[in-house]
């Protein structure tokens, strides 16, 4: 298979403009003859569904939640980047492009990232026009804050709830179209398979989560806006329902899956408190502006932080990275915290935590200023841990937060299946091996509001508006396949719960494919996952029936897919014997123990092809060509 990224020719800054002109359009009178399915209602899905409906297409939108407003984009805290240069601090489209390429450790496409930076400015205008209440200065103009990986202030925010406000903006645009009848909304309806006719995506199979009804829906194009797969680790900052099922089942029909091992582990999360833990809560990256990270110099030191004198503390980030200190990028901060804990210096009952200390900031700025800056985060910490972070330092530990990998897409966001598109976190395209803070919201909205409305018309104009034959056997076959899997899951009636399998898988992934990976560990993980998967299909206990709201059954299907994806992540991590961004191979490090990229061997996108049940996947490589940016080893010393 030849991977064609369809990157347009010409100078970087002209590519998108020129490409838009070259794409075919659909005549306004013909648009209503096309049906488009959008799966997922997060930033990418809601913005895409609304924008396509505004253009005149018939849109069907699906979400597994009870309302489109609950998609997990809602939980993003910090902000959204845009190259507005309102603060006059030297920002530009090119600088945002450059920072994102470098932050991604040179494993993303220049053309995609430049387009993202270009449309970032339109996103802010669009959101403000919708009534999104961004933070403002006293003069009435928009405020900006700084974020990791950049030396300019380009992050727009709405308190600590930027994702919520942007999603509610997209949700309101979607609601308007639902009211007009141009979008048919299906809530509590989960996509369980793709319908393929002659190698093209022509519809989906869904299960109504209230009634269990399994149904098919036809469309000229299917857009997967289904988010990331961080829940393969069981514990992550993702919502409980976040899953890979739609993307994975498309993968099994031939959509290549790119860079599955690229996972972002966020350094500042509240540590695990016990075996009952169901999720991990992120504390915004902004805390590292004023908090100092440290561990005791003495191993397994059980004293309270306040009883450990200054000279017995190791501020390890400041010691190792004097120029960036506590503000090193996410991947570096996470790895160092793990290193300290692995060496026995961790704090708290589990020993899997480091201190994030605000004592100096409180002394310097006063408690009121610290409260004004971070009050809501401190409250959240106190609520979860029962401790007062103004008096004692916070305890933090890294947690899985975002997945840079996803379905392989070309410049048009088309997967390798014609008619099937992937947007937002569900695709792989813009963040390389590490995503910068405040860039996920930008990408979701860029894909949905600005990219897909232009690119999907080219495909639709090519295939024509001929109605899709719902009597084609492909629909009945796809439906029967889903029914058979559902029946199978309910019939095993084994002894282990779905949650037990999920937790076991998560432990394997975290241990061997988490913050640090090595050849032997990955090989071991592959065997363990295979064994766990075999056991799952023999011994899982899914209670209840299909014809009702059955949360065990929903989760069983998702965990079954995670059990397959997990193996591919391990295989991908094994094949990439270099360190880059969030992917740290212990065999590939510098003398000082930093990540060592190997551009001569691995400057490509790994795109995996499914070849059948329990068959090894086939690797295809998309070479990355850097024409504008010079590749360098990142240094934060």
């Amino acid at each position: 298979m030849k991977l064609d990224s369809k990157i347009p020719d010409g100078p970087l800054a002209d590519k998108w403009t020129k490409h838009k002109f070259n794409l075919k359009l659909v005549n306004p009178a013909n648009k209503r003859k096309y049906n488009i399915i959008v799966v997922g209602t997060g930033l990418a899905g809601a913005s895409a569904a609304a924008s396509l409906a505004e253009l005149g297409y018939n849109v069907q939108s699906f979400c597994f939640q009870d309302s489109p407003r609950r998609a997990h984009s809602i939980a993003a805290q910090g902000g959204i980047n845009a190259a507005k240069n309102y603060p006059n601090d030297g920002d530009s489209v090119y600088r945002l492009f450059y920072d994102t390429i470098k932050g991604g450790d040179y494993r993303s496409r220049e053309a995609n990232v430049h387009r993202l930076a270009e449309v970032s400015v339109n996103i802010i205008d669009q959101c403000v026009a919708q009534g999104v209440p961004f933070a403002r200065e006293y003069g009435g103009l928009l405020d900006n804050r700084s974020f990791g990986g950049a030396q300019v202030s380009r992050t727009f925010y709405a308190r600590g709830q930027t994702g919520q406000q942007l999603l509610l903006g997209a949700y309101s645009a979607l609601s308007r179209q639902i009211h007009k009848g141009t979008v048919k909304m299906h809530t509590r309806e989960e996509m369980l398979d793709l319908v393929m006719i002659d190698g093209q995506a022509k519809g989906i199979v869904t299960r109504n989560l209230e009634t269990g009804t399994i149904d098919t829906h036809s469309a000229h194009a299917v857009l997967l806006c289904t988010g990331g797969y961080g829940n393969v680790f069981f514990l992550s900052t993702n919502a409980q329902g976040s899953n890979v099922t739609a993307a994975w089942r498309a993968h099994k029909h031939g959509a290549l899956f790119a860079n599955p091992c690229f996972t972002q582990i966020h350094p500042t999360c509240i540590p695990v408190s016990g075996d009952h833990q169901s999720k991990l809560t992120l504390m915004s990256e902004s805390l590292r502006n004023d908090g100092r990270v440290w561990v005791p110099k003495q191993k397994a030191d059980k004293r309270k932080a306040s009883q450990i004198p200054e000279n017995e503390r190791d501020y390890f980030l400041e010691r190792k990275y004097p120029s960036f200190g506590n503000l090193v990028p996410r991947d570096v901060a996470s790895r160092n915290a793990k290193e300290q804990c692995d060496a026995g210096f961790g704090v708290g009952t589990s020993g899997l935590a480091v201190f994030l200390d605000f004592a100096d900031a409180i002394k310097r700025l006063g408690e009121d200023t610290v409260r004004a800056r971070y009050g809501n985060l401190f409250d959240m910490y106190a609520q979860i841990t029962g401790e007062n972070p103004y008096a004692e330092p916070m305890r933090i530990y890294p947690a899985v937060h975002y997945t840079m990998g996803g379905l392989w897409v070309d410049y048009n966001l088309s997967t390798t299946i014609p008619g099937l598109y992937a947007l937002g976190e569900a695709n792989f395209s813009d963040h390389g091996a590490n995503r910068l803070g405040a860039s996920a919201l930008m990408q979701g909205l860029a894909d949905g509001y600005y990219v897909i409305p232009s690119t999907v018309s080219d495909y639709l104009a090519t295939i024509g508006p001929k109605p899709i034959d719902k009597n084609h056997p492909a629909f009945a076959e796809a439906k029967a396949k889903v029914e058979a899997q559902t029946k199978k899951l309910l019939s095993i009636k084994g002894t282990k719960t779905v949650a037990e399998y999920h937790r076991e898988l998560g432990l394997i992934m975290w241990e061997y494919c988490g913050m640090a990976r090595n050849d032997a560990g990955l090989r071991k993980a592959q065997v363990l996952i295979q064994e766990l998967r075999v056991d799952f299909w023999k011994n899982v206990n899914v209670t209840g029936t299909n014809e009702e709201l059955n949360q065990q059954l929903e989760r069983a299907g998702r965990v079954a897919d995670f059990l397959e994806l997990g193996e591919l992540m391990v295989v991908d991590a094994l094949a990439r014997a270099e360190s880059c961004g969030g992917h740290f191979r212990e065999e590939s490090q510098t003398e000082e123990g930093e990540a060592l990229r190997k551009d001569d061997e691995y400057c490509y996108v790994s795109a995996w092809q499914y070849t059948g049940e329990n068959q090894p996947e086939v690797l295809h490589k998309e070479e990355l060509n850097f024409e504008n940016v010079k590749l360098t080893q990142r240094s934060y010393k």
Binding site: S67, A75, D125, A135, I178, H179, S278, T497, L549
Partner: protein, 254 residues
């Protein structure tokens, strides 16, 4: 481990919308005070599955207080005994060993029970669909900074916009009124310059929809704001009323 608790739960079980439900008793054993309330239910559910009993169905997703999915009526209070948090942010250290905890779904005609603690809140979506937006299409609009907004007004609009659509306000209201929910959106958009063009038709359409959905009227008991996890205040209801009267007096739809 020390400090672990044993609790008795009285949980509303209802097979589906058509069946009659009832409270069932369950034991929650060896519960750590560090668990969240929903993690405690997870533990109970795992033990129910092992005993061959169907686990308790409940809505939940983000488990960090922002998606608005979780919705439990705990010991007679929406989202439980603590203020300004959702059920998923409630931790077991707020309870004591030996306590009996009663857990019910939201109760309102407009929120029919789907199963156990899961209710249908799609009426909220339809209220927003009726007019809770600014009618702008995606495209190249004017530069964001060409619409200056006074900071205090932007902050007030943000207070209203913080609504997570959980429905606790309806559950706590003796009339099952959705006024606080509705007023949050009306107030946000009435405050902002972007919302001015559709001010009058918006409030009328949304209130019409609320009535059609079967929510009750507001009698200003303020129970809604008391349980609101985002502390949305009563002045938004006052602003909505003003908007509504203004619309009734002058809107073309009169």
């Amino acid at each position: 481990m020390s400090g672990h608790m044993n609790l008795t739960l009285k949980v509303w079980r209802q097979k589906d919308a058509k069946s009659t439900g009832k409270l069932e008793n369950y034991e929650a054993k060896d519960i750590s005070p560090d668990m969240s309330f929903l993690e405690m239910i997870d533990v109970v559910n795992e033990s129910l599955i092992k005993k061959g009993v169907e686990p308790i169905a409940f809505d939940h997703d983000c488990r960090e207080g922002i998606c608005g999915a979780c919705s439990m009526y705990i010991n007679g209070e929406a989202h439980g005994p603590k203020r300004a948090i959702t059920t998923c942010q409630l931790h077991m250290r707020s309870f004591h060993d030996g306590e009996t905890i009663t857990i019910e779904p939201w109760r309102a005609n407009a929120f029919p029970v789907i199963k156990d603690l899961v209710v249908d809140r799609s009426a909220f979506d339809r209220i927003i669909q009726a007019g809770g937006y600014v009618s702008v299409n995606t495209g190249v609009t004017i530069d964001a900074n060409s619409i200056p907004i006074e900071k205090e007004i932007a902050d007030d609009a943000m207070d209203a916009a913080a609504c997570i659509g959980c429905g606790a306000c309806v559950a706590a209201c003796k009339n099952a009124s959705a006024t606080l929910f509705l007023s949050a959106k009306v107030s946000q958009l009435a405050l902002l310059p972007q919302g001015q063009a559709e001010r009058q038709i918006r409030v009328e359409a949304m209130i019409d929809q609320m009535e059609e959905e079967g929510f009750g009227n507001c009698t200003n008991t303020e129970a809604c704001s008391a349980v609101c996890p985002k502390e949305i205040g009563q002045h938004h209801i006052a602003r909505m009323n003003r908007e509504f009267f203004g619309a009734k007096l002058s809107s073309p739809k009169k």
